[in-house]
C-alpha cells in the first residue's frame, strides 16, 4: 500500500507549484496508470517517490511507514523505474552488463548475478541479444533491456515513466504485453505513467493529472465515464471514444464493443 498525502512541490522557492496538494493511494499489486499531458507533474511525482527530489511538503507512506531521507535508500531497493529515453539509461556496454548493473551495485555474488540476469532477460525476450551493444538495438529493445534491469532487482513496485512514448506502435505493444505478463506472474505493483489514454485499458486503477493536481481517479470505467473531466484534462481521447461520443452519446466502450455496436 502506497499512500501519498497532501504532497506539494516546487522546484524553486518562488516558482509555481508543480505538485499542488496531491493525495493518492495505491493498493499493492495493482496496475496503476497516471495520465496527464506534458508538464502536469507526473515525473516530478515519481522522482519524489524515488528520493531523487527532496524538500517536499506532505508525506509518503509505504505500508504505513513514512518515507524519510534516512530510510529512502532501503525503499529504493524495492522500487525500480524505467525512464522515457532508452539511450539515456543504458549504462552497460552490452545488454547483459546493463541488466546486471543494479545487482553489481548491491554487491550480489557473481553466480547469483548471472542467474538473475539471464532470468530477467528471458522475461523480456532478450536473452539471445545478451552480448549485443546498445547501438545495435532498436528503441523498443533498449526499453526491454531497461525493464529487465529493473526486474533483475525483483522490485515490489515497477514504475514506467512514459517508457513507451519514444517507441513505434509495435514496440509499445510489445512492452505492454511484457508488462501484463510481469504483472500477472510476479504480482508486481505497476505504476504506468503515460499521456496516452489508449494505453491504460489494462490497468486496475487510473489517476488523471493536470497542472500538478489530481483531476480524477478510479477504475477505468469510472475514468472513461466522466467524459467532462477527460475533456478538461486536455488529453486526446482514444479514437473509439471519439466515435462513440459522436455516434452513441458518450457511453464508454472498448474497441471490441464498438465494433459490435456498429
Amino acid at each position: 500500500m502506497i499512500e501519498i498525502n497532501n504532497l506539494t512541490y516546487q522546484y524553486q522557492v518562488d516558482a509555481a507549484k508543480v505538485l499542488d496538494n496531491v493525495s493518492l493511494s495505491f493498493k499493492s499489486g495493482d496496475w496503476v496508470s497516471i495520465i496527464g499531458h506534458n508538464g502536469s507533474g507526473k515525473s516530478t511525482l515519481v522522482k519524489i517517490m524515488m528520493g531523487i527530489l527532496e524538500d517536499y511538503e506532505g508525506e509518503i507512506l509505504i505500508n504505513g511507514n513514512k518515507l524519510t531521507k534516512e530510510n529512502i535508500a532501503n525503499y529504493r531497493e524495492k522500487f525500480a523505474i524505467v525512464f522515457q529515453n532508452p539511450d539515456n539509461q543504458f549504462v552497460g556496454a552490452t545488454v547483459e552488463d546493463d541488466v546486471a548493473f543494479g545487482l553489481e551495485n548491491q554487491g550480489v555474488a557473481r553466480e547469483e548475478m548471472v542467474e538473475k540476469t539471464e532470468a530477467a532477460l528471458t522475461a523480456v525476450n532478450m536473452l539471445s541479444y545478451r552480448r549485443h551493444a546498445p547501438a545495435r538495438l532498436s528503441g523498443g529493445q533498449k526499453q526491454r533491456v531497461a525493464i529487465a534491469g529493473a526486474l533483475a532487482m525483483a522490485p515490489d513496485v515497477l514504475i514506467l515513466d512514459e517508457a513507451t512514448s519514444m517507441l513505434d506502435p509495435e514496440g509499445r505493444k510489445d512492452i505492454l504485453n511484457i508488462l501484463e505478463d510481469i504483472h500477472r506472474e510476479r504480482q508486481t505493483t505497476l505504476i504506468y505513467i503515460t499521456h496516452d489514454l489508449s494505453e491504460i485499458e489494462k490497468s486496475d486503477y487510473a489517476v488523471i493529472m493536470k497542472d500538478g493536481e489530481v483531476l480524477n481517479r478510479g477504475s477505468i470505467e469510472h475514468i472513461f465515464s466522466d467524459t467532462d473531466t477527460l475533456i478538461k484534462s486536455r488529453l486526446v481521447l482514444p479514437y473509439q471514444m471519439q466515435i462513440s461520443r459522436a455516434l452513441l452519446k458518450g457511453e464508454y466502450v472498448t474497441h471490441g464493443e464498438l465494433v459490435e455496436k456498429l
Partner: protein, 265 residues
C-alpha cells in the same frame, strides 16, 4: 576513407589472441614495445618481422586488410624515412646533387626506424582489433588497481571511459540529425569560405552540447536510482580470467626478447 581506418576499431573473433585475457594482451604489448628497441641489425629486424607475421596469422587478421587500414598512417612513415635518408650522415655517400646528399647509413637507419614504427603501429592495432573497448577498460582498471593507493580514482576513470564509449554512437547519430535539420534550414557548412563554415558550425554544436548535458543528467539519475554509489561494496558481472594461454603468451614474448637481445651486435 575514415571507415577504412583500423586504429581503435574492434573486430570480434575467436582466435587465440581474441580469447586472451585483456590484461595479458596489454602486458604483452608493453613488453613488445620495449623489445622492438633491442633489434640493432638485420637479423634482429628480420626476427621482429617474422614474429609479427606470426602474430597477425594467429590473430586471424587478413594482412592486406590490416595494411589497407593503416594506409593513412603511412604518410608519417614515409616522412620519417625521408628525414633519415636526407639528414643521417655516415658510411659511404650514395648520391649527391647540389646540397642533397644521401649516405648509406641514412638509408639503413631510415629502413630500421621505419620497421620499428610499423611494428609499434601494427601491435597496437592488433590489440584494439582483438579486444573490445570494455575489455580494455576492465583491464586498465584492474592493472591500475595499485594506483588506487595513491588516490588515483581508477574505478571512476574506467566507468567514465566505458560510459563515454557507450555514448559515442548516440552522439554521432544526434550530430547527423542536427546537421540534416540545420541543412534543411539552409545552413552551409559544407561549402563557402572558412569563416562562414565555422560560423555555420555554431548552430550544430550548441544543440549538441545542450542535449549532451541533458543526457548526462538523465544518465546520472538513472544510475542513482539503480543504486550506484561508487566502487564500494560493488561486485562485478564481467570477469577477467587469467589462463594458461595468458601465461604462455607472456613467456613466449619474454623468450623472444631474450633471443633478440642475444643476437644484438
Amino acid at each position: 576513407m575514415l571507415s577504412n581506418m583500423l586504429l581503435g576499431r574492434y573486430i570480434p573473433g575467436n582466435s587465440f589472441i581474441h580469447q586472451m585475457d585483456p590484461r595479458a594482451k596489454i602486458i604483452s604489448v608493453l613488453f613488445f614495445m620495449v623489445i622492438v628497441f633491442f633489434a640493432n641489425h638485420w637479423l634482429g629486424y628480420l626476427l621482429l618481422i617474422l614474429f609479427m607475421l606470426s602474430v597477425i596469422k594467429i590473430a586471424q587478421i587478413n594482412i592486406f586488410f590490416l595494411f589497407n587500414g593503416l594506409k593513412l598512417l603511412f604518410f608519417i612513415l614515409i616522412f620519417t624515412f625521408l628525414l633519415h635518408i636526407f639528414f643521417t650522415r655516415g658510411g659511404t655517400t650514395l648520391f649527391e646533387w647540389g646540397f642533397i646528399q644521401i649516405d648509406s647509413e641514412g638509408v639503413i637507419t631510415g629502413i630500421y626506424i621505419t620497421i620499428r614504427l610499423v611494428m609499434l603501429l601494427i601491435i597496437t592495432t592488433i590489440l584494439t582489433l582483438t579486444t573490445s573497448p570494455i575489455e580494455l577498460t576492465d583491464a586498465i582498471e584492474n592493472l591500475g588497481a595499485p594506483l588506487k593507493k595513491i588516490k588515483v580514482p581508477m574505478h571512476e576513470l574506467a566507468m567514465m571511459i566505458s560510459i563515454s564509449l557507450r555514448f559515442i554512437p548516440t552522439l554521432m547519430d544526434e550530430t547527423e540529425k542536427i546537421i540534416k535539420a540545420q541543412s534543411a534550414r539552409g545552413s552551409t557548412f559544407m561549402t563557402g569560405k572558412l569563416k562562414s563554415r565555422v560560423n555555420a558550425l555554431i548552430p550544430i554544436f550548441i544543440p549538441l552540447f545542450i542535449s549532451a548535458f541533458k543526457r548526462a543528467e538523465e544518465m546520472a539519475v538513472a544510475m542513482e536510482v539503480r543504486g550506484y554509489k561508487g566502487e564500494e561494496g560493488r561486485t562485478s558481472y564481467r570477469e577477467l580470467k587469467w589462463g594458461l594461454k595468458d601465461t604462455s603468451a607472456i613467456v613466449i614474448i619474454i623468450l623472444f626478447g631474450v633471443m633478440l637481445f642475444l643476437v644484438r651486435m
